[in-house]
C-alpha cells in the first residue's frame, strides 16, 4: 500500500511534467514573437528606427519592478503558511497594478505618436505588450482560483496548486523582463 507521502510525491512529479510541457508550449509562442523581432531588428539599418525613438522609459521600468515584486510576494506566499493570505493579496494587487501601468503605457505610446499602424517595429512593441497583458489576465484568473483556497484556508490547498500557478506567474515575469530588455532598454 502506498503511503500518503509517496502518493504526494507522484502527484508532484505528474504535475511537474505537465506544467513543464505547458510552459514549453507558452514559451514557444513567445519565442516565435521574439524571433520575428530579431529578424526585423537584424534587417533594420539604424536602431532604434525613427518610429520608436521617443519610447517612454519610466513606465516600463516601473512595470518591471512591480512584476519582480509580485514574484517575490508569490515566493513568500508559498513559504509562509501563517501569512499566506496577506501575500496572496499583495501578489494579486501587484498583478492589477501591472495591468494598470500597461494601460497607462499604451496611452503614453499613443501620445508620443507610436501607433500600431506606423510599421512593424511599433506594431511589435504594442502587440507584444498586449499579448503579454492577456497572459497576465490569465495569470490573475489562476490567482483568483488559488485565492479561493488561500483566503478561506481550505485544506484542499495543496503544494501542487501553489506550485503550478507559481510556475506560470514566474514564467510571465521572465517573459516581461525579456520584453522590457529587448523593447525598451537594448
Amino acid at each position: 500500500m502506498a503511503t500518503k507521502a509517496q502518493i504526494q510525491e507522484e502527484k508532484v512529479f505528474q504535475n511537474s511534467v505537465a506544467m513543464t510541457v505547458t510552459l514549453i508550449a507558452f514559451g514557444m509562442m513567445f519565442a516565435t514573437l521574439f524571433l520575428g523581432y530579431f529578424l526585423v531588428r537584424a534587417n533594420t539599418a539604424v536602431w532604434p528606427p525613427v518610429e520608436i525613438q521617443n519610447m517612454p522609459k519610466l513606465l516600463p521600468f516601473l512595470s518591471t519592478l512591480v512584476m519582480g515584486l509580485s514574484s517575490l510576494t508569490y515566493l513568500k506566499m508559498e513559504k509562509s503558511e501563517s501569512q499566506r493570505s496577506l501575500y496572496w493579496i499583495l501578489t494579486f494587487a501587484l498583478g492589477i497594478v501591472f495591468l494598470v501601468l500597461q494601460w497607462i503605457l499604451w496611452g503614453a505610446l499613443k501620445e508620443k505618436g507610436i501607433l500600431v499602424s506606423n510599421g512593424n517595429v511599433p506594431s511589435m512593441v504594442i502587440a507584444f505588450t498586449w499579448i503579454h497583458a492577456a497572459h497576465i489576465l490569465l495569470g490573475l484568473i489562476a490567482l483568483s482560483w488559488l485565492g479561493k483556497y488561500v483566503l478561506k484556508k481550505k485544506e484542499e490547498l495543496t503544494v501542487i496548486k501553489l506550485m503550478n500557478v507559481g510556475k506560470f506567474w514566474h514564467f510571465l515575469g521572465v517573459i516581461w523582463l525579456l520584453i522590457y530588455l529587448m523593447m525598451f532598454v537594448l
Binding site: A2, A18, V21, I24, M28
Partner: protein
Amino acid sequence: MAFLEQHIHDEPKTFISKYVISYDHKVIGKQFLWYGIFWLLVGGLMAMLIRWTLAYPGVPFPLIGSLLFPHTGGVVPPDTYAMLFTMHGTIMIFFAITPILIGAFGNFCIPLMIGARDMIFPTLNMLSFWFSMASGALLLISLCLPLGAAAGGWTSYPTLSTTLGSPGAGQTLWLLSLFLFGASSTMGAVNYITTVITLRAPGMDYFKMPLTIWGIWLTSILNAIFVPVLGAGLILLTFDRVFGTTFFLAGAAATSGKGDPVLFQHVFWIFGHPEVYILILPAWGIVSDLLSFFSRKPAFGYKMTALSLTAITILSTVVYGHHMYTTQMSPLLTQSFMTLTMLISMPSAVFFANWLGTLWKGSIRFTSPMLFSLGVVFVFGLGGLTGLYLASTSIDLYLHDTYFVVGHFHYTMAASVLLGGFAGTYFWFPKMFGRMMDEKLAKIHFWTTMIPLNGIFTGMMMMGWAGMHRRLYNPFIYEFTQNLMPLNKFVTYCAIAMGFAQFTFLYNFFKTIFGKNIPQASSNPWDVGTLEWTIPSPAPHYNFKEIPHVKCGPHELGNPNLTDGKDFQYQTEELVKA
C-alpha cells in the same frame, strides 16, 4: 510509472454525462472519431467540387450544383474555387485527420495500451474536445458569411490573407478558428505526454510500449512545441486584420510603415513542416504495430523503428526552409535545408526496411486492418521517394507550386494517413463499440479506395511534372496545359470513384454500430497481445479492474516455444523461453 493510485471513475448514467460532457477517454476518443468523419465528408465534397472544375471548366456541377451556386447556374465561380481549395486543405488537415489520428486514436489507445484507467487530466481532455468543437463551429459559420470563407490557401500567406487580399470576415474567423484548434491540440498534447510519462503500467518501460503509442507520443511532443508557433503567427495576422498593425504588410499593400510578408512564411513553416509529421507519426506507429500483429511475428528491429521515429521527429524541426526555396533564400541556407531534408530519408529508410523485414516470411493474415496497413506501406513508399525530388533545390525551383507538390503531399499526408486511419478504425472498432465490422465490406472498401487513390495522386504528379500549376481556376487557358485535359478528367473520375467508395465504409460503420443482430466481438478478435485486448469488448468504463503488470513486449507473436495452442502472448505474461 504509475505504481500508486488511479481511481476508478463512477460509471456515468445520464445521456449527457455518458456521451456529451464525458471525462472518459474512450468516449472522448469516439467523439473525436465522429467529429473527424463529419469533417472528412465536408472536405471530401469540396475535393469533388475542385476536381469537377478542373475536369469540366465552366460546366455546372451535377445534381447539387444549381443548389450550391444558383447565381451561376451550378458552375463553381472563381472566388468560390479559391475558397474551396483553402477550406479543403484546412478541413482535411486540422479538422479531419487531426481529430481522427490524434484525437480519436490518441484518446482511445493511450490509456488502454499503457495500462492506465484514464488520461492523467480527464477534465483537460474533455475541454480539448469542446475547444475543437468551438473551433469547427467558427469555421462552419465562416462558410455562411456574405463574402465567403477564407480563400488565401491553407497556408494563408499574406498578402492574400490580409484585409487587402481577403476583405471579408471569413479569413478572420479562419484565424480565430485555428487559434482555438491550436489551444485544443496543445491541451491534448500536455495530457498525452504526461499520461505516457507518468501512467505507464508497472513493467512497461519505453521499449515495451506499442509503436502506436510511440507515434502518438512523439506527435504530441511536436504538437506541444510547434502548434504555439503557429499560434503566434495567427495572433499577429489577426492583429494586422483587426487592429491595423503592419507585421506582414509591405510595399503597396501597406498604407504606412513596412512589414514583411515572408516573415509569416517562416513562422508558418516552422510549424508547418513538423505538422506533416504530426499527422503521419500516429499512422506510422499504428501501421508498425499492425504489420507485426498480422504477420504473426515480432516487429523487425522494434527498437530501431522507435528510434528512427524519434530521429525523424527531431530532424523534422530543422528542415522547414525547403518550403521556401523560391523566396530568394541565400544559397547557403537552401543547401543546408536541402541536406537536412535529405537526411530525413535515412531514418525513414530504416523503419521502412523494418516494415519489410516484419513482413518477410510472416504468416500474413490479410484482414482489413492489414490490407490498409499494406496500403500505407505502398503509398508512403511513393510519397516518400517523390519527396526527395522536392528536397533538391534545383528540381524544386521548377516543381514549386505545381501539381507534383500536390500529388506528393497527398500521398504522404492524405493517402498514408487516411489509409492508416482506416486501418486503425477497423482494428480498434471491436474494442470501441463491442462489435465487428463486416470484413467483406471492409475489403471491398480497401480495393475501391486504393486503386482510384493511386490514379488520383499519380495523375497529379504527372500533371505537375508537365508544368500544371496548383490553385488555378482554369489552367487550360494556357496552351501548354491543354493536352493535360484528358489526364485531368481521368484524375477526376478516380476522385469520384474514391469518393463513392467511402459510402461502403460509412454503411459498414453505421450498420455495425446501430444495426440489429450484429454479433458481439470477443475480447480479443485479432489474437493480439497488447493490453487493450486483455479486457472485454467494448472496454469497460474503468478499463482495468487491476492495473496490469507488464512482463513482455507488445509483439510477442509466433514464438516457437509456445505450447498452449495460441501463437501470441499477452503483455501481462512472462515470455516463454525454450
